[in-house]
């Protein structure tokens, strides 16, 4: 255990994101109340405006880096934090906003904002790990509450979190689901996607959308070939890979490969 006399100070930080992952943390309030006397929530604007200055024992970071200002801010936070973990697809892979990485940012700015000149932004959306050292990345869009509790419990108990990197198929089979890909011909990203959701979509007869990003040693090209045999067209296949985790390398590289293949005769 982390010493109970010195209650570890925890801070929660937001970067470019939708706040969904912080909501998962708020959703842990019953569990967190039970340990309120053992931890100190020093900075969590989503929950309280009261703040305590650093340094912090644990910083939990949501969101991606999309501005110069944030690229500097994350360095300051890292310097103030003994441990830093990132939560969610934005923080671990750049989020859906990493779609900007494929286009010219000025094209977007002109469409979205009346006066683009007022906007100061980077050309890319990148994960926190592209900027500072990260001690643990918790995947998901959004993250799973139970996994978050496991990470916090492991931190407090000073042990390694039980967060497996294998495919969603493992969770699917453990639950006793019938595979939607094999039994229904439904496109599913489960075989290349990191577990964590408990195979939520296949449990409700949908294919996996890849919310938890690439599994530990994925083979996206083989899955593309199989989905192609099932009749999924090239454009849809690229779109499947280009969602919340589009910036994660195996998904990015495969979608790029498919783009190149599609444009060459």
């Amino acid at each position: 255990m982390v010493s109970t006399t010195s209650r570890p100070k925890i801070a929660v930080w937001k970067f470019a994101s939708c706040d969904g992952c912080q909501l998962s943390l708020l959703d842990c309030e019953d569990e967190l109340l039970a340990v309120a006397d053992r931890v100190q929530i020093a900075y969590f604007l989503e929950a309280t405006r009261a703040t305590i200055d650093g340094p912090y024992d644990l910083s939990i970071v949501e969101g991606s880096i999309t501005t110069e200002h944030d690229a500097e801010r994350i360095k300051t936070i890292r310097a103030l934090s003994r441990h830093l973990i990132t939560i969610g697809a934005c923080a671990t892979a750049g989020g859906v906003q990493a779609l900007r990485n494929y286009s010219d940012i000025d094209d977007y700015l002109g469409i979205v904002y009346a006066t683009p000149a007022y906007i100061s932004t980077l050309a890319t959306s990148t994960p926190i790990s592209a900027h500072v050292q990260v001690d643990f990345e918790l995947r998901g869009c959004p993250i799973d509450k139970h996994q978050l509790l496991e990470v916090l419990t492991a931190f407090l108990g000073q042990r390694r979190p039980n967060i497996a990197g294998h495919s969603v198929c493992v969770e699917c089979k453990l639950r006793g689901n019938v595979c939607v890909l094999v039994a229904g011909g439904t496109p599913c990203l489960g075989p290349i996607t990191h577990a964590g959701c408990g195979a939520l979509c296949p449990t409700y007869a949908r294919g996996c959308y890849g919310c938890f990003g690439p599994a530990e040693d994925p083979n996206p090209a083989s899955l593309s070939a199989q989905l192609d045999r099932l009749g999924v067209d090239r454009v849809d296949l690229i779109r499947m890979l280009r969602t919340f985790n589009t910036g994660a390398e195996p998904f990015r590289a495969e979608s790029q490969r498919l783009m190149t293949e599609a444009s060459s005769p």
Partner: protein
């Protein structure tokens, strides 16, 4: 000759059989149609079975279809096997509670009910015999498996409907039920009649049947019934086109560990684990320690694992010793078909074909073995 009889109304016979088993305290489990596949779940009566349904299987494909009759057992094995019940996907091995001055320990949390499996194919019974060698008869028996196994009751079915993925004939594990059953059923379905030939395989099987016979109509089995059964399984055997020679596979794989085919299959394999998790003989599990946020409760949980996960081969401080898919696929196939013999004296494959049908990439082990055998290194 085994004692045998014929229940002259098949559905009613199964109803009474399930009722008799339930009265004896069994949780009766058998095939049910759910989400487009025959899964193994609790049965209430014959109507719970996929009555009038069949399946069609190929590599990476499984579909169910309606038949134009009321057949009860006219399909091959589905994605699940009794392994799910005898050695469940997750179980809590023990838990500990912090008390003053120490910890209080508790053993395995839930004791499952005794199971009676209805509609068990020969390959399935063969797979259970293989798991017995691993989980019961070896130097480290798994106590909860041993208990569940000892209590379990098996109503076998002689297979009249193999899928295109099946190859039990070549493995010597089917399609006729020959061992491991308490009762063996053959569904006799003709234009005019729908009967069940029942052969008694154990004393308790005989007791259950005596009870069933007192409530439904039956007649003694004739030579004609036994001939009909032989014909059904003989036709099934002929219909199986996939093959694997167990001893040839054993010798060829282990002698070809650097064969280029392993690189080839690695480009197709997703390392998704599906083959191992549908296989009725695979037994690997991982053990995880789970604690409560306040640190006052801890549990040790065992869950199914697979040699396709990195965690399975991760050594402390060294990472995974099977870091690429080539070595993981090779582990699966050589363990199943070669080194299993060294460990347990049999093949780890019974030819059920599940790993072929449920592989999302459509990898077929019989084809992989054949490819390696065709162009041997040595």
């Amino acid at each position: 000759m085994t004692a045998s009889l014929v229940l002259t109304a098949a559905a009613q016979g199964v109803d009474e059989l399930i009722a008799a088993l339930a009265r004896r305290g069994y949780c009766v489990v058998g095939p049910r149609l759910r989400d487009g596949a025959m899964v193994l779940e609790e049965l209430q009566g014959a109507a719970s079975l996929p009555v009038g349904w069949t399946d069609e299987q190929e590599a990476a494909t499984y579909r169910v279809h309606r038949r134009d009759d009321r057949a009860l057992f006219a399909y091959a094995v589905g994605p699940q096997s009794p392994r799910r019940y005898l050695s469940p996907p997750r179980k809590t091995l023990w838990s500990a509670l912090r008390i003053e001055g120490g910890f209080q320990f508790e053993g395995e949390a839930d004791e499952p009910p005794p199971y009676a499996f209805v509609g068990v194919k020969a390959c399935e019974l063969a797979a259970i015999a293989v798991q017995d060698k691993v989980l019961r008869d070896g130097p480290y028996p798994d106590p909860s498996y041993v208990r569940a196994r000892q209590q379990a009751f098996f109503v076998g079915v002689n297979c009249g409907s193999p899928a295109a993925t099946c190859f039990c004939t070549s493995m010597g594990t089917g399609p006729a039920v020959e061992a491991g059953h308490d009762l063996a059923i053959t569904e006799l379905l003709t234009a005019g009649a729908h009967e069940l030939l029942v052969e008694i395989g154990s004393d308790r099987g005989g007791e259950v049947m005596a009870e069933v016979q007192s409530t439904v109509s039956w007649r003694p089995a004739t030579d004609g019934d036994r001939e009909a059964k032989h014909q059904i399984v003989a036709e099934s055997a002929v219909r199986m086109t996939r093959r694997l020679e167990p001893t040839v596979a054993r010798d060829v794989l282990i002698a070809n560990l650097e064969h280029p085919r392993w690189d080839d299959v690695a480009t197709r394999c997703l390392s998704c684990t599906n083959c191992t998790l549908v296989c009725p003989t695979c037994f690997c599990s991982a053990v995880e320690d789970v604690s409560s946020l306040d640190g006052d409760r801890a549990e040790r949980v065992q869950r199914w694992d697979s040699c396709f996960t990195l965690g399975h081969s991760t050594l402390h401080g060294a990472g995974s010793v099977r870091g690429d898919t080539r070595s993981r696929y090779r582990q699966w196939l050589t363990h199943k078909l070669s080194t299993w013999w060294d460990q347990f004296g049999v093949s780890g494959c019974v030819g059920c074909g599940r790993c072929i049908a449920w592989c999302p990439a459509g990898i077929d082990l019989t084809e992989e073995v054949a490819a390696i055998a065709r162009e041997k290194e040595q």
